[in-house]
Symmetry: C2
Subunit: 427 residues, 2 copies
Amino acid sequence: MRHSIPTWLEVQADSDFSIHNLPFGVFSTQPNPTPRIGVAIGEYILDMHFLVSEGALDGLSFEIETLQEPVLNSFMALGNEAVRELRARLQLLLSQASTEREPIEEEGLILQSDATMHFPFMIGDYTDFYSSLEHAQNAGKLFRDPDKALFPNWRHLPVGYHGRASSIQLSGVNFHRPCGQIIDKERSTSENLIPKFSPTRALDFELEMATVIGKPSELGQRITAQNAEEHIFGFVLFNDWSARDIQRWEYQPLGPFLGKNFFSSISPWVVTFEALKHFRVKSPAQEPEVLDYLKTEGNRNFDIQLSVEIQAENSLPTVVTQTNFKHMYWNVAQQIAHHTINGCNLNTGDLLASGTISGSEPGSYGCLLEITENGRKSLTLSNNQERVFLQDYDSVIIKGWAEKDDIRVGFGSLFNKVLPAIISSRQ
Amino acid sequence: MRHSIPTWLEVQADSDFSIHNLPFGVFSTQPNPTPRIGVAIGEYILDMHFLVSEGALDGLSFEIETLQEPVLNSFMALGNEAVRELRARLQLLLSQASTEREPIEEEGLILQSDATMHFPFMIGDYTDFYSSLEHAQNAGKLFRDPDKALFPNWRHLPVGYHGRASSIQLSGVNFHRPCGQIIDKERSTSENLIPKFSPTRALDFELEMATVIGKPSELGQRITAQNAEEHIFGFVLFNDWSARDIQRWEYQPLGPFLGKNFFSSISPWVVTFEALKHFRVKSPAQEPEVLDYLKTEGNRNFDIQLSVEIQAENSLPTVVTQTNFKHMYWNVAQQIAHHTINGCNLNTGDLLASGTISGSEPGSYGCLLEITENGRKSLTLSNNQERVFLQDYDSVIIKGWAEKDDIRVGFGSLFNKVLPAIISSRQ
């Protein structure tokens, strides 16, 4: 058990950003609009550019200039030894024993409410896995044959596919309901499917977590499941927004495309692997036994509580899902080992999303496709409105946090709102 | 009909790099190892950094400093008006009327054989389409049901999926045969498929062309089929190397992943849309009629001859495929309009590959899966060796060129060699 570190900064007991967390982000302020690296602590941001300039990080063994760049990539590429060292120094600076309190309090701390957050790293490639057994079973039943929900490969490898990096945006960015081809039910027969152009009528969220790659690998190099964690800088909350009707029509045989790539979103603070190590738990048993390169030992899942709320315009949010990252059948070490077994290289800033995270019970499903059984059962919001899929001006709020031994490490929230479709004359 | 421009530089009549081509790349030399932008002309490279420094590009209306960067992105982002202006100036400088011949000859021209080529742009996202009807039919028959080779969506939209950008390399880079999970035929039954770890036994090339995006689009913005060409900086030859046995086991339901992402390759010179406009031809008729946003008029395909050669170690190459880019059912304007119809943004440096390009006759198929009917019919090389899929130390050479009115515009070649698998003890 770890003990809480006494700090001179007041941090609420229920804050996601305790002294044990210290997540990294990129922010700017009105007086200083240059994006720079910060670390969240309570309601504040600790300005890394300032700390380096002040000499408060002198003596650390890594290149501290990486902390003065406008994105996290150079720092993340150093690997987790640098993260461990920096965390220890920051905890010292924030501890009651610190002699640096005064300059930091005066110039190095910015209220989060006074800051604008920016995308924290230059994104590389984005991969989406499909690692929740419950989600794969539920989605397989709804999209395909209920008796053959899982394909034969599912229990042998962490199924994954490539997604679109360019349209991944930060919490707080809103987007327009996407348009595209959907099946025209009025004109189609089972023998002859005919599409029409339409705004999606089946807009969905997907509750996911995403791994942010720190230390990169070379083309041709395999990262073993045993070494995988050294390549994980941290995690963010991830919403893999999906248009189910577009996806259903387009996805065969090469996978989802326009049904997903219109928009995805991440939470602004990257919670480090180092902060989350404390919350590791045993992975679920895997049957049949996996191939050697996918075998992992010890605690490789993470006990992170997750919730999804839907908030209609001018209404209070309604919790529609509560689940946990620990349910994942395939853990992140297995995902990384699989991703590189063929020599595929991972770059700093790559995102590896988990796939929708569902528990086994209703109330713990990670997307509306599952919650409403693809539109068959409606959901009642706190304002008594019904939903089967998302409506215009609905917001989706994802939260995630870990708690153990009176220590709380959280992700804050991921919030985006759906705006109406733009129907252009140039369609 | 265009007339050839007389130049003071000797360019062989059969050169891919005529004065009508002027493709862009990034190169360095031993005396000057800084990567810089160059334009190929005959056997030479015209050094853009030098031309800007010399003042030879003064008076052009775009920011010519973009030509002094180590990658093409800033220049490409300007759009095709800048390309047209620069091409006109370069043709003038190389013409017999030029007064700048002497300094350019002395310091601005580098022999291609003295240069090392670099990846010409910072790559963004990589999308692979599936736009050849012949390939989709052949592959569908071999991977799935011969009677339902095409999915119902195929003739209604240009099917595409996201691929891996990090492992796309330049011509001349060799790679190791990838390993991964393949079906263990000895232990599997039709009811119970069991995988094993193995180097791929079905390594294949895929002959493709890739569009390089210049002018970007914003998230939420649609690029119409009519405006699409203004976003195309140019094209490269593309080899979408594939491991068919890995792909077959993993690809359902979310598409290809490790069967593709171990390695892909492009030719080093980006041939501009402006140079290829001259070779546009009518697109094939599309039946049924496509939705409005996919309609195109005029000549939207490109008459580009393509060939693939396989060269076994210490042997002469054998031509195994001859086909043409003009056969594509879905043209690149349609691909771009479809890609952005849901608001997905395109960035400068994004690659949109065509999918395997096959003609309708044997001898014109774009991959070994089709040529050998998935290993059932072997191919005889010039050294009398047989192939069903690629062997270690085989090289694949892709060539592409357009010819019309005595004007030749070519891509040079795309060449990569297969090295043996690395079987690590850490598998």
